[in-house]
């Protein structure tokens, strides 16, 4: 019954694209679909109303109607408005010079505060800070234990105090941080309902006692229309500074992100998308808008790749590629990096049309493991000199990997295609001599090439996913 928003809008706009000029009725029809899609994405009813009215006004401007390609312009208007609604630029977390900085997390029960606290601590630690987690949820059974376990896993100290009075714990937690040379304190508070005055007062008192530099509200991406009431109350009672959207790895479109920004004016700071400590990413309104519109978050993928890739290894690989020595070793490295980046489905989801492919079940994560097993069954020589692999070797490789010879042939075929592609790309990229002088710069370029190669070898070029079946 409900298509996802990307698919929906893609459908509408591919209809619009085939038309040259648009009438007012065309625009209304398209906007009706946009409205429906936004409501299904849980954007608040009132926000949708205003949004559609704005878009309509802008779409009807003469320059849109009379332009050569009005449908493109309609897309642009909707995209621009969406981006504007979510705040035009991403808001960075900037810590002050105060020691320690205090960050307090608030939210409803089950929104994901404790998990978000650990992820935030992990991120800060990675960036060279030494955070302290403070467990102020004294109500939910074993909440402090949960934070403790997560803290142990990421190597961040957890302060639990007496486990009774949240305000005292918060206060002494900050003191503890000073005494133990921690520069950031992250306070995890109990989940509370916005209509529970007593608990909301408690949150306000924790705030008063610790004077946080930032208060973040953690919001479940699946939250429905009620997000407006929740956010409004939290904003008026504790005046939070920003939002962490949790459970973004589900297929909820997260329309709440649009509503919350519009209603409270507070920015979305991070999105939390996964079960691992590193699954906390900065929020980029423009990318989110593009993703909603089915234009894909290609920039995000590349950034993730750059973050993950071992710089030196990437540089070496790039050099080898330029010299046309792309081997199975490189192929394997590439596979491993795709896995590191969260697997194929995560990558795909961020690509234009990727949602569709995922939904239709064309992606088999096990495929990566199979390819890896096949390459692992090759000898060192075979990996470096792919030409060596003849019929009997193929049979042996198949046996070693526990697959059919046919599967081995498929991998070889795909490898050869990738190799060919690399060769073509050599012609495209400016041929810098792979010298040792400017290694830093080289490394970066290598990453880009590697990324493109990676996508192609995964069969993502032109979204031809059939290659991957």
């Amino acid at each position: 019954m409900f298509d996802n928003l990307s698919g929906r809008l893609q459908g509408i706009f591919s209809g619009l694209k085939s038309k040259g000029r648009l009438s007012e009725a065309d625009i209304d029809a398209a906007l009706r679909e946009v409205r429906m899609a936004l409501l299904e994405a849980d954007v608040n009813y009132k926000v949708v109303k205003g949004f559609i009215a704005n878009c309509r006004e802008r779409c009807l401007e003469a320059k849109v109607m009379q332009s050569l390609n009005p449908s493109q312009n309609v897309i642009k208007v909707v995209l621009d408005e969406l981006t504007a609604l979510m705040g035009s630029t991403n808001t960075k977390l900037i810590l002050s010079s105060r020691i320690p900085n205090v960050i307090m997390l608030v939210g409803l029960q089950g929104s994901g505060k404790t998990t978000a606290a650990a992820k935030l601590a992990y991120r800060l630690k990675r960036d060279g800070h030494s955070p302290l987690l403070v467990a102020c949820d004294v109500y939910r059974p074993a909440a402090a234990d949960q934070l403790q376990t997560l803290g142990d896993e990421i190597g961040v100290k957890v302060y639990r105090g007496d486990g009774k009075d949240p305000i005292a714990i918060a206060k002494t937690g900050v003191r503890f941080a000073i005494d133990n040379l921690r520069d950031v304190v992250i306070i995890d508070t109990a989940g509370r309902l916005h209509v529970d005055d007593e608990m909301m007062d408690e949150a306000a008192r924790i705030k008063e006692a610790t004077d946080p530099d930032y208060i973040f509200m953690v919001l479940d991406a699946m939250t429905g229309q009620d997000v407006v009431n929740v956010a409004q109350t939290f904003a008026s009672k504790v005046d939070f500074d920003g939002v962490i959207m949790s459970k973004m790895d589900g297929d909820a479109r997260g329309g709440g992100a649009l509503s919350i920004r519009q209603i409270t004016g507070k920015p979305i700071m991070f999105i939390s998308a996964g079960e691992k400590p590193q699954d906390l990413e900065p929020f980029y309104p423009d990318r989110m808008a593009k993703r909603i519109l089915g234009m894909g978050d290609v920039v995000g993928i590349i950034e993730r790749a750059v973050e993950m890739a071992d710089q030196e290894q990437a540089a070496q690989q790039a050099e080898r590629m330029l010299k046309d020595e792309f081997t199975y070793v490189d192929f394997l490295d590439t596979l491993k990096q795709v896995k590191k980046m969260g697997g194929l489905s995560k990558l795909l989801k961020d690509l234009p049309g990727g949602d569709k492919a995922l939904a239709s079940g064309q992606v088999d994560e096990g495929e990566l493991d199979r390819i890896e097993a096949i390459i692992n069954s090759m000898t060192k020589q075979e990996r470096m000199k792919p030409g060596l692999i003849n019929g009997s070797r193929r049979e042996r490789i198949a046996k070693g990997a526990g697959v059919e010879v046919y599967d081995v042939n498929q991998v070889i075929k795909r490898f050869n295609e990738t190799r060919k592609m690399m060769k073509k790309m050599q012609g495209m990229v400016p041929q810098g001599k792979p010298g040792k002088g400017k290694k830093g710069k080289k490394g970066k370029g290598g990453n880009m090439r590697q990324m493109m190669g990676m996508m192609r070898s995964m069969g993502l070029d032109g979204m031809d996913l059939s290659k991957f079946r």
């Binding site: 309902l193 229309q225 297929d251």
Partner: protein, 301 residues
């Protein structure tokens, strides 16, 4: 009526504005115009019922109202309440009182599974039933400890293993222990997971299969869903149902301002009964579900 009052009180915060406009409508007399029906649709959408469902229901109510020449807004509201209540599938059996019974609790992260298990265990224990709880959430940090504390509070034995253990084997242990002690009601908590995670859904499938196969008493698989969930809730329920063949649903956290309208779509489309609703923090606040009261709370203050 106790929970209805409670529910209404919680809901009244957001509904005030709508009720006011409704009152205006009432005072204006039985004028059933375009605006009236638009307002109804808006209320239902704001209650998370979903655009399509809201449009369908209001259209059919409008149609019937015209055919039956209903006299005023109040009559239309009654009709609307009936129509919504009829969407819900009736439960044929209550897995928490028709014993012996084994219930597996599933759902996404943070829906309130562990708390629900704890409350249900306490209720059954206080009633005098022989209860056993099992902790098959071996993934989330401190989930076992959390359930442990609930077990202590309720005075109910809990079967558990170390964190990271195979959840299906925990269920096996629980059933075995249940047979040894002659437990009449067995409640098993599982770890929260997003319906989009193929691997975790497969894992859960195994847990359910093992339990269904091994258990000598009737097994029910119950989806726990947070009332604040929006339209994604239907997708969630669909996926869980597809993988696990659910028996029913429990809606939690109805004591906020969320109206839980998604429950209508879930119950209607998947033909799943709502077993219980959570309307507050205390144990008594986990209550039996009444379709008419739920519908009324959804549309009026």
């Amino acid at each position: 009526m106790a929970w209805f009052d409670k529910l209404s009180r919680g809901l009244s915060n957001t509904r005030n504005s709508f009720t006011e406009s409704m009152n205006v409508l009432f005072r204006r007399g039985p004028k059933l115009d375009e605006n009236f029906y638009d307002d109804l649709e808006e209320t239902l959408i704001l209650g998370d019922m979903g655009f399509q469902a809201a449009e369908d229901i209001v259209a059919s109510v409008r149609d019937t109202a015209r055919r039956k020449a209903l006299p005023d807004a109040q009559a239309v509201m009654d009709l609307l309440e009936d129509s919504i209540a009829q969407q819900f599938k009736q439960a044929e059996r209550d897995p928490f009182t028709d014993l012996p019974s084994l219930v597996l609790f599933v759902g996404i992260n943070g829906a309130g599974k562990t708390t629900t298990v704890g409350k249900l265990a306490k209720i059954a224990k206080d009633r005098g039933d022989a209860v056993l709880i099992g902790s098959a959430d071996t993934f989330r940090a401190a989930a076992i400890e959390q359930l442990d504390i609930w077990g202590e509070r309720a005075g109910v034995e809990i079967v558990k293993r170390e964190r990271g253990a195979d959840p299906a084997s925990v269920c096996y242990d629980v059933i075995q222990r249940g047979e040894e002690t002659g437990a009449q009601l067995i409640l098993i908590d599982t770890s929260g997971r997003l319906h989009t995670s193929k691997d975790l859904m497969r894992e859960l499938q195994k847990v359910v299969n093992v339990t269904r196969k091994r258990s000598g008493i009737p097994v029910s698989v119950v989806l726990v869903m947070d009332a604040t969930t929006g339209q994604n809730g239907l997708q969630q329920a669909r996926e869980f149902n597809k993988s696990l063949d659910l028996d029913g649903v429990i809606i939690t956290k109805l004591d906020g301002t969320a109206k839980g309208g998604i429950a209508v779509a879930v119950s209607r489309e998947l033909e799943l009964p709502i077993y219980r609703i959570g309307v507050g923090e205390s144990i008594d606040d986990l209550q039996a579900f009444d379709a008419h009261e739920f519908a009324r709370a959804l549309i009026t203050g």
